[in-house]
Each structure stands twice: as structure tokens, then as C-alpha cells.
Subunit: 418 residues, 2 copies
């Protein structure tokens, strides 16, 4: 057995032992651990910023892009956000033990379906060090032990934050192994995690196409699929012009680097030269490169799209655009090119909206609002680990509740089955 | 590409096309298809019995056990049960389109979490030909296309039943490819199904240890885990003697061949020579072989257990039995030997029952009632494909509702994210 294999198996055993204890940990202890962790992060902000400086130096040597360096950076403001996030999860209701449903049977049996933890969660993420705190906190809230595997770029920052999470667990009398961080940059640790059937109950990958592809190809453990956010906005012939202009601009430009940012605009053919031209002019004025199909190339500022621009996650001030004959053509386009993440329709026509909602099967479908609302916080779920695009177990924003399972508790009175 | 690969890929494409249509099929059409299928099965009972005779001849040549031959057998009575099952699923409410939750956000967004089909389900099962009807019906009710792969022993019987299901679909104007049956006995078809990522959304294995093990080892597609039912019954010191005697006897002997049958009896040490002796005498009188640990071997009729008898699914008139010090020792025993299917406790003490319910994590935990209630019908869910023992997505009885996913439908009024 290699050293990495040994390390990971030992972590797995510790995680399972911690999970068995966490499964019935009092809500108050979990809350106290997260509040104590928040305080510890704030107290240790000096050390965290120091650790982050080492990561930034490593990143510079590695030649990371400006965007990557920005994701990596921690300053006092960002550490304050981490603290706030921990306190917010601490304040959330505990999902474990909640009744999902309860009913009586004619024979007198009383049946409850009750939320339980999943067990051991593996989270594999990339450069943002704040995920260490977010993912650790959400898993703990849901009563799960977690094995975190951060990006190699954020190695020291994540370790410094993780130390604070352990301080919080210790202060609350919970097992410190409830939140473990893989102590090596070696990529073999990821491969090992993906194979830990019977130890890790589910893997949550959070990162780019490369990471997600690797996880889906190699995992033997179940995975919450998390594909790209190739979000579409369809402007129908019955769209309200003012709403449509505001929503498209926001969906593309509010933030371009998040998975809920719009990547493709579909215009009903009857509005191309009126509302469509205005929307495109708004985007161009906001500095967006509009890559249009043949039916849009006569409009000012539109550059010709090529085939690869459809179904592409730009995460940048670029949008693909295409003309469609009607809502059915928009639906067909989205089925072909989308990633079942989030799509929006602008229309005042209820039947058209209903068709869009019924015939598409993305995790999130939106009418007359921005795709940028695809976010656990905006849904009112508190924090999230990510947006799941698969159809099993978790779908859409993955918060504490989505990190739970359930069991049935049945009570009788000496009841036997005839 | 081998012939089997080609066959399976073509079936997969047809299933996906059918699933896209089924996703928004009216409830009335699905109900009509199932009622028409029920009528078709009854009309074709002569042909089904003929087809079954060919399977029985094949089974005799293959030297199947009496129990296997009995599972395989279809007579008019059993066909009537199949018809009744189809009508019962037809009459169930349609889960697709149901609101699971709905709420408003302070910014005016209205969010609904709505049930959707999963897509394409693969069901791999063994000898019982009735699963063809049950699984086909439940998948259709939930708006899924299904690829059924029955046991080679029930090849002709399953094909005859499947023809009736297609008749039902055709009569209701639904795509006939909504329910497909793998048209070959070749085992390579199973291997192919397990690899159809992006085509089959989930595999439901229904069968013995060998099948389930194969599926779990080879599947690249997600699987609803379905381990053995190694069900435990713990009789506490605070058990009511009358309830305990009735429940243990029922849990073991009502039917011994189902996954909810009790396989291990745990007795609190303080009741061994009183209530415990009575319970064991009841079992022995009912023809059950009681294989006891050292603390029970002085009781009349008890034969010595060996180590392999614990954690074993007998599916027969045999039960393992052991003495434990208290509820915590019972919990530890069950954690070590159980399969997280169903366990029962007999006690009048609320704190003890609560400890058993909280600290064990089986799909179903039962107080003062028989483990034989581990069944979708008994839970009031209508029919079931099986009892899932995994913790992701489906757990416990898998009925139509457990064969669904969900999506979020968000409605705004030109709402943009600040």
C-alpha cells in the first residue's frame, strides 16, 4: 500500500468514527462549534493572511492568471465574509431529526420519515480557500463528517482555516475528525478519495471542467454531478421590453465568472430588429462581445459566432446569440446545447412560460428574472456548496438539507402483519 | 461494436426519446395505458401461461430448486395478482408535477420545487416474471422510460407480459418504447446497461447477493443500492411479553423468503431465562431452527451458532440468536452485522426506544411491530420495486415517488439581482 493510500484510509476510518458520533450530536453543540470556529478564524486572521501570502507566492511562481490569483487572495474583508458565513450556517435550523413526513396506517402503525446525516462527505475543490470553511460548516450542520481536498494553490490558506474549524469542534466537545483536510498536494489523494467505496458516501466536486470530468470518469463513490452552467436566456415574442432589457443585462453582466451567468441569448425571430436590437445594443454598450448567428450579424456590434460558441461556458464578458422561430425552437436549442443548470424565459404569455417550464428539464427554470439568482443564498437556503446539475438526490443549490438522507421510524403496539 | 452493444445503444436512444415525451405526458394517458395493459394481461393469460410453460421446462432442464421453480410459476391466480397490481398503480396519484415545496422571497421571487421524472431507469431482476409488470408500471407512473432486463429463466413469461404493457401504451397513445425489455438472454446485455452513462439515469437491481454484487462492482451508472435484508429484532428488558412473543414469531415465520424477514434475535441478558426462553420455545414449536450463541445454548431446542450465522440472510426457517447486555450492546451488534435494511425493538421504555431510533441508521427502524412491515404496500405507497438500503436519493421502499427527481421553477417580474 502506498503512503497516500495509507494516509487516506486512516483519514477514512477517523471520518467514519466521527460520523457515527456526529449523527446524534445535539444541535446546540454543532451551533457552538461553528460559532467558535468563526471566532477562531477572526482571531487567527493574521496567520491566515500570512499563510495566504505563501500561497500567492507559489501561485505567482506557477504563473497563475490574474483571475486565478484573485480567487486565491484573502484579505481582512474576505476573512470577515468567511466569519459571517460560518455564523450564518451556525444560525440555520438543524436539518437532522426533522420530520419530512408522518402518517398513520389503518392497522395503527405510525410512520415518520426523518432526516438523517448522509455519513461521510468528500469535497474536492480548487483555488478558493473560503470553500474550506463553507463546505466544512455545511457538512457539520448536516451531521456529516467531511474530508476536504482543496486545490494545491490554496494549500496553506486552507490549512490555516481548517485549524480554526478544528478549534471550534474541540471547544464544543465534538470530534475534531469531523472536519479533516487532506494534508498533501499529491494528486493521488484525489484518485484515492474517488475509490473509497464504503467509507465516503458521496463526493461533491466543486471546480472547473477538468476537475469535474476527472471526478466523473474515475469515481467509484457516488458523485453529486456538477456540470458547467451553460445558462440560456430566451426572449419571447410576448416579452415585456423593459423587463427583458433589464434581465438580460443583469444575467450576463452582474458577475460574469459565476455558474449562473448567462452564456447564450435566444431571440424570437419577430423581435430581432426591435427589442432584440436594443438588448444587443445594451450588452455591447456594457462591454460585452456578442457572438451572433447569421440572423443577427446585421446588427451593430455583433461579431459572427462559430459553432463552438454554442454550448460554451465563457465565464467572461462574451455571449453567444441566436435567432429562434418560437419557444419550441428555443427549447430544442437548449436541450441540444444546455447543461441542465439554469435557463430563463422572458414572456408575459402564461401558456408559453408553462411550455418552457414543463418541457425543459434544467435544475432551475426562471420566468422574468435573472439567471444570476441561481444561488442557495438567493433561494433562501443559507450557504451552498454548489449547484448540482444531476437528477439524483441533490439538484440545484446544495445546502445543508441536500447533504442529508432520511430513515423511517415506525411505531406499533405489538402489531403483526397478517 | 458487438451486436449486443449495438442492440443496447439503439434501445437506449429509443428510451431517451420516449422519456422526453413521457416527461410531460398527461396523467390521464399514463393511467389509461396501465388500465389497458391490465386488461391486455388478463386477455392474454392463455398465452402467458403457455410462455411460462416453456420457461418452466427450461428451468427443469437447468435443475432449478423447488423454491426457484415456485418463483417462476405463473397460474391464473398469479396473473390475476399482476392485473390487480397494474390497476392499483394506475389508480395512484401521479407524482410528476406535484409541488414538493413553494415559497416567496423578499424580492418578490416565487419559488416552487416540483417533482419531475428521473429520465431513463434500468431495472435488472431475476426469476420472478411479475417484476416485469410491477417495475414497468411504476416507472411509467413516474414518467420514466424503462429498460427491463429480466432473468434468463423467466425469458418467455416476461416477454409475454411485456407485449401486454406495449399494447397498453399503444392504446393510450404513448410511445411504446417507454417500456422496453432486453430481447436476449446474453449476460453481456447487463454489462452494457451498467455502462450506459448519459443514457440510463439510474439502475435498480432486484435480486440476490450475486446480482447485486455484480451491479455494484461494475456499474458506471448510479445504482439504488439494494443489499440483503439482514433484519434484527432486539427484545429489551422492558419489553411487553405478549407483544414480544407475537412480534418475534411474526417477524421470523410469516414469510421466511422476503427481505423483511427477521434473521437475528437479540435478547437482553435479564430476560433470557424468562421471556427469552418462551420466545425461543415459540420459534422452535413453529419449526424454526434457533442457532444460539453460548448464552442461549442451555435452552431447549437451541443449536449452537457458528460465527457465520451472524450477518447472514437465511431466507429460511432458521434464526441466529444472541444475548446482549443492554440496548447499546444491541446497537453495536446491529452496526457490526446488519445491512441497514430493517431492525425492530421490543420495549415499553421510551428512552430506550429513542436511543435505538437515534443511534441506528437503518432504512427502517420499528418499535413494537414486526419487521415484515418493511414493504411499500404496508407503508401505504402502493407498489414498490424493492427496498433500497443506500442513503442517496431513494431509501426504504422504492415506489413511484422515489423514482422521481425535481426541478425549481422561479417566477419574477423583471427581477434582477443587485
Amino acid at each position: 500500500m502506498s503512503e497516500i493510500e495509507e494516509t487516506m484510509r486512516a483519514m477514512g476510518l477517523r471520518a467514519k468514527a466521527a460520523a457515527a458520533e456526529l449523527a446524534y450530536a445535539p444541535s446546540e453543540a454543532k451551533r457552538a462549534a461553528l460559532d467558535a470556529a468563526a471566532a477562531a478564524v477572526w482571531d487567527a486572521r493574521g496567520q491566515i493572511i500570512e499563510a495566504n501570502a505563501r500561497d500567492l507566492a507559489f501561485g505567482r511562481d506557477k504563473g497563475l492568471s490574474a483571475a486565478m490569483m484573485d480567487r486565491l487572495l484573502l484579505d481582512e474583508g474576505r476573512i470577515a465574509s468567511i466569519v459571517e458565513g460560518l455564523r450564518a450556517v451556525a444560525a440555520q435550523p438543524d436539518p437532522v431529526g426533522q420530520d419530512i413526513a408522518a402518517w398513520d396506517r389503518p392497522n395503527g402503525l405510525h410512520i415518520r420519515r426523518v432526516r438523517t446525516p448522509l455519513g461521510v462527505v468528500g469535497v474536492i475543490y480548487e483555488s478558493r480557500p473560503n470553500v474550506t470553511a463553507d463546505a466544512g460548516a455545511l457538512c457539520l450542520k448536516a451531521g456529516n463528517a467531511v474530508i476536504l481536498r482543496g486545490g494545491s494553490e490554496s494549500f496553506h490558506s486552507s490549512a490555516a482555516i481548517h485549524a480554526c474549524l478544528r478549534d471550534g469542534l474541540r471547544a464544543a466537545g465534538l470530534p475534531e475528525d469531523a472536519i479533516q483536510l487532506v494534508p498533501t498536494r499529491d494528486r493521488a489523494a484525489v484518485t484515492e478519495m474517488l475509490r473509497m467505496v464504503g467509507v465516503i458516501d458521496v463526493i461533491v466536486p466543486r471546480g472547473g471542467k477538468g476537475l469535474v470530468g476527472l471526478v466523473q470518469a474515475e469515481a467509484r463513490v457516488p458523485v453529486f454531478a456538477h456540470l458547467e452552467g451553460i445558462c440560456h436566456v430566451y426572449v419571447d415574442v410576448a416579452a415585456d421590453p423593459q423587463k427583458a432589457r433589464a434581465v438580460v443585462l443583469n444575467a450576463k453582466t452582474r458577475r460574469t465568472g459565476i455558474c449562473g451567468a448567462a452564456e447564450c441569448l435566444l431571440l424570437h425571430r419577430d423581435i430581432v430588429d426591435g427589442l432584440g436590437a436594443q438588448i444587443i445594443a445594451d450588452l455591447v454598450a456594457a462591454g460585452v462581445e456578442v457572438r451572433g448567428g447569421p440572423g443577427l450579424q446585421h446588427l451593430p456590434g455583433v461579431v459572427p459566432a462559430d459553432a463552438e460558441d454554442f454550448g460554451r461556458e465563457f465565464l467572461d464578458r462574451i455571449i453567444a446569440a441566436e435567432v429562434v422561430a418560437d419557444v419550441d425552437a428555443a427549447i430544442a436549442h437548449i436541450r441540444r446545447y444546455g447543461s441542465q443548470h439554469t435557463e430563463a424565459i422572458l414572456t408575459e404569455d402564461d401558456a408559453t412560460a408553462d411550455r418552457f417550464f414543463t418541457r425543459l428539464d434544467s435544475a432551475i427554470l426562471i420566468r422574468n428574472a435573472s439567471t444570476q439568482f441561481a444561488d442557495g443564498g438567493e433561494f433562501g437556503m443559507g450557504a451552498e456548496i454548489g449547484i448540482a446539475t444531476g437528477k439524483l438526490h441533490a439538484r440545484g443549490p446544495v445546502g445543508a438539507e441536500q447533504l442529508t438522507s432520511f430513515k423511517y421510524l415506525v411505531t406499533g403496539n405489538g402489531t403483526v402483519r397478517p
